[in-house]
């Protein structure tokens, strides 16, 4: 089942040639990793896929319908986005932050009910931040904030996840926990698209990979086909050593 589809999509990065149009479909159960050097447009791609930025050309389709023709509220019921950067202008607690994930599901006069609260508690529990629920988000560490942000999207319960660097600020254990959580979301019939910097996380958890080159070129396909040393060395301009561990390739930069 197709969930999110890029239809001859060219993302809009000022001053850059259009390069190759993206044309792929993400299906339920798949985990896509978007790889590319700094400034290649990974975040811009995620924002465009979420309908927050207009593409230069082409369209994004959600369940076959053009994103621009759907109401924002309906899009938010289907599509969740974890941002790389967050601003907290006004103080808010961890629980309040998780609860705003229910926003697209509530009508204007409706208050959050017991079931919404239960979903938020469950999500905070899964991200290991339930005991912080009454703390102000501004007092948390970077890794704790990252987990609260993921818990907010888990509370939102979208069919398709867009995640901008899910493992940012996380320690090794929580990196693995978060990647497993995202993989489980896919395994239970949802779809996940995430930007990653760590090739080895991509090799271990992604079913599909999209390589985004700084000149606008791109290629995509099953992870095993894309994660080959020659392509990755060109992508980052960095020589790599490859070893196989536990059935997956491990890439190590050459000094």
């Amino acid at each position: 089942m197709k969930t999110l589809q890029a239809d001859q999509l060219v993302i809009d990065i000022p001053g850059r040639p259009s390069g190759q149009a993206l044309d792929f479909a993400v299906e339920a159960g798949q985990v896509w990793g978007v790889l590319g050097p700094n400034g290649a447009g990974k975040s811009t791609l995620l924002h465009t896929l979420a309908g927050l930025r207009a593409p230069r050309s082409g369209a994004v389709r959600l369940d076959g319908q053009a994103l621009t023709r759907l109401k924002r509220k309906r899009v938010a019921q289907q599509l969740g986005l974890v941002f790389q950067e967050r601003q907290d202008g006004f103080p808010a607690t961890v629980l309040e932050t998780a609860l705003i994930g229910r926003h697209p599901w509530l009508s204007p006069w409706q208050m959050e009910g017991a079931d919404d609260l239960a979903l938020a508690h469950q999500a905070l529990q899964q991200l290991d931040v339930l005991e912080l629920q009454d703390r102000l988000v501004s007092t948390l560490s970077g890794g704790e904030r990252q987990r609260v942000a993921i818990a907010t999207t888990l509370t939102q319960a979208p069919q398709t996840w867009l995640v901008d660097e899910p493992t940012n600020h996380l320690d090794l254990h929580h990196q693995v926990a978060v990647m497993n959580l995202l993989a489980n979301q896919a395994a239970s019939g949802r779809a996940v698209i995430m930007c990653l910097h760590d090739l080895n996380l991509a090799a271990r958890w992604c079913s599909h990979v999209l390589l985004l080159y700084p000149d606008g070129e791109a290629c995509w396909g099953p992870a095993a086909d894309m994660l080959v040393p020659a392509a990755l060395e060109r992508l980052y301009g960095q020589r790599l050593l490859t070893v196989a561990v536990d059935g997956a390739p491990v890439f190590v930069p050459v000094r």
Partner: protein, 320 residues
């Protein structure tokens, strides 16, 4: 969550009763009760129903309008130091009002001129900030602050050129003075209507407070919502300024004090701002009428004297 609102409502009623009872002539509770039942002496009836009641209601409406407008501006600009006047709206209103006073026009025309000036100022800032394409909240804020400085210069120029016998009326207007209010009903109507319009949008505002991108990702149509808030806050402020001149600091301090106590859920903060802002201005106006009775102080002086220390305290806290 309805309890704090009921509490604030009760305090508002008490404040209004106090405002009715106190003044150059104090009216004891028994007589107040008689007048409310349609009895009492003619003098007390005139004093209460024709003079103090409209003024008290006007003070309440003005305070409520300013506090709600301030709460909205703080969310729109995502800046806790924003107030209803931050975008130069009061400057536009003041220029309008002073022009009408210079021309020797009557109260009604002064009010109309102030309202026109306020709405012109709103459109000016919005048009300039819109400029070439998108506006961000920081660009809107910067445009507003610079335009406000321009209005300030025009006001100073006008005061310098004004014959001295006209100055006291102008200065009172600039500081804010409820005694200009002729009828409270328009302001009260706008306040009630605004709260009814904004309440179903209040959860959208909670999400918007986390930034426009996050809000859009959670299903908020950000641009139409921002337009609605900006226009609504402008109409509220213009109505308040037209009713009682530019009363300072209510729009800044009331939402902040409420956020410190009640948290930052706009579904509570907005109606609570209406009640608490109204109460504060009713009390301030009562003080303004009684401190040196039968002379009166402009109410804006009292709110600013309360507001300045609160503002400094908040600023101090925000650094720490």
């Amino acid at each position: 969550m309805i309890r704090p609102l009921l509490g604030l409502g009760a305090v508002a009623l008490l404040a209004m009763l106090l405002a009715l009872a106190l003044g150059s002539v104090n009216i004891p509770p028994l007589e107040l009760w008689q007048v409310m039942r349609g009895e009492g002496s003619v003098l007390s009836r005139t004093l209460l129903i024709d003079l103090r009641l409209p003024r008290t209601l006007a003070a309440f409406a003005t305070g409520g309008l300013l506090a709600v407008a301030g709460a909205l501006m703080q969310i729109l600009l995502r800046n806790p130091l924003a107030d209803p006047y931050v975008l130069g709206l009061s400057g536009g209103a003041a220029v309008g009002a002073l022009l009408a006073m210079l021309a020797g026009l009557g109260t009604l025309l002064i009010s109309g001129s102030a309202f026109t000036g306020a709405m012109l100022a709103t459109l000016l800032v919005f048009g300039l900030a819109h400029g070439t394409g998108s506006w961000t909240s920081s660009r809107l804020l910067l445009t507003g602050v610079v335009v406000a400085a321009g209005w300030g210069a025009v006001i100073t120029l006008m005061l310098a050129l004004t014959p001295s016998y006209k100055l006291p009326g102008m200065l009172y207007w600039l500081m804010g003075d409820v005694s200009y209010a002729r009828t409270p009903w328009l302001a009260l109507g706008v306040l009630v209507l605004a709260v009814v319009v904004i309440l179903p949008l209040a959860r959208n505002l909670n999400v918007l407070a986390r930034g426009p991108m996050q809000a859009a990702a959670l299903g908020v149509s950000v641009r139409p919502l921002e337009w609605t808030i900006y226009l609504l806050a402008s109409v509220l402020t213009a109505t308040a300024v037209t009713t009682a001149g530019s009363v300072g600091f209510v729009g800044l301090i009331v939402p902040h004090m409420l956020r410190l106590v009640l948290g930052n859920d706009q579904r509570i903060i907005l109606p609570a701002s209406a009640l608490a802002g109204g109460t504060l201005l009713v009390l301030a106006d009562t003080l303004a009428r009684t401190v040196i009775a039968p002379e009166q102080l402009p109410v804006g002086v009292i709110t600013a004297l309360l507001g300045v220390p609160t503002f400094l305290y908040l600023l101090h806290r925000s650094r720490g």
